[in-house]
Subunit: 231 residues, 2 copies
């Protein structure tokens, strides 16, 4: 294989905290509706509604807000009060304005890698939302380019490779999601480093490693430079 030239970082839960903000809101949503419905049925139904709406809404907080509202209406047979639904909207707005907390060691690692590689960012989700987070992260200026995509699969990575004239065999992706950051990349013949995060949305989970993708695993981002040396 060729020498690695471009290192791409996923953003949510790789560079900064994201899923815990959703998890926290899910808990608050369950508390809010505790008088109407049990926690468990709410959790299951919210996930069902989210999945059902994914093909229309895509990823992101606004779609999540709409799915919470729809779940609340559905499970209460329309009895949920307007005041409660306004609280759901307000919880979503808090998420949208939530401060961006970088994970430990992110900035130093990116700066270190930048000396030897073209360091870039590929993040999935709502354009407006991701742009806001990138701007507020304080580290946008360290990245050669930043690409926001609506889905991370082989086709969308190939488009990005084409757009930036990147060869798969000189490209390495670092991310927390096997499904979005690691497998499609390995399938395209590029390399990847997986950094598991403690909190993963069930939609991003993969049941079993029933594939032969070859990637390395890091416990935290600061290990990436050392692992790169082994490639």
């Amino acid at each position: 294989m060729n020498e690695i030239k471009t290192i791409a970082f996923d953003a949510d839960d790789t560079l900064w905290v994201n899923e815990p903000i959703f998890t926290n809101t899910r808990l608050r949503f369950e508390e809010l509706l505790a008088n109407y419905i049990s926690q468990e049925s709410l959790e299951n139904e919210l996930y069902n509604v989210e999945r059902r709406n994914l093909s229309l809404f895509g990823y992101g907080i606004k779609g999540f807000m709409l799915s919470m509202i729809e779940t609340a209406i559905e499970l209460t047979d329309g009895k949920v009060s307007g005041a409660h639904l306004q609280q759901v909207i307000d919880m979503g707005k808090e998420m949208l304005a939530h401060p961006v907390h970088l994970l430990p060691g992110v900035e130093e690692t990116v700066l270190q890698l930048k000396e030897d590689y073209n360091v870039v960012m590929i993040t999935k989700g709502d354009l407006f939302d991701q742009e806001n987070k990138i701007a507020r992260s304080g580290i946008a200026q360290h990245f050669g380019w930043i690409e926001i995509v609506s889905e991370k699969d082989e086709a969308s990575y190939q488009e990005v490779f084409h757009k930036y004239q990147v060869d798969a065999d000189s490209f390495l992706m670092v991310g927390n999601s096997l499904k979005s950051d690691i497998l499609p990349i390995c399938n395209l013949g590029a390399r990847a480093i997986h950094i598991p995060f403690h909190d993963t949305w069930q939609h991003e989970l993969i049941a079993d490693l029933d594939y032969d993708a070859v990637f390395k695993t890091a416990k935290k981002i600061t290990e990436v430079p050392r692992i790169l040396a082994q490639y």
Copy 2:
């Protein structure tokens, strides 16, 4: 000025119908809540809520859905029923799945211009939404590149110019919004052709032409090739 090399088209209400879909939904929303509130106060309040939410939601149908829900809750003091709010969500989903109707002459004009220019698309809005519309438009393959931006102002156009190595003085933009498609482009020293559309969201309106931007105006897209010859 240099020869024009790149012609960029705005998409919504330049290549295909968009604002009438919003207008139609606003009317249905007013009908739905006619028992609670007068049409006029609803219309004004919805626009106020939309503007207030713009900095958190950005442009697009999901944000519009959330603003309709918030407006309905606010103006009815939380009395709006869950069933009615579900209808609001369903109206939004219909918008998201709405067929893409090309405006007359679009495909023939793009194909004609493609012979002499790099024809591209720059559209503003929700990433997932816009990608879906682009895919369903059936004309995506005619464009050299397509860029979806969250805002159309001088800074975002400059980023696009930088990304695609475009010189402002060899660039021409075609679009229906003076605010988004014409003025920032003229301010950057590029050229523009304005094609007014009969239905424009009030947020995109500009009170007066109190600027000295120089652009041409076309009645319809099929006039663009002839107007280009005059530049």
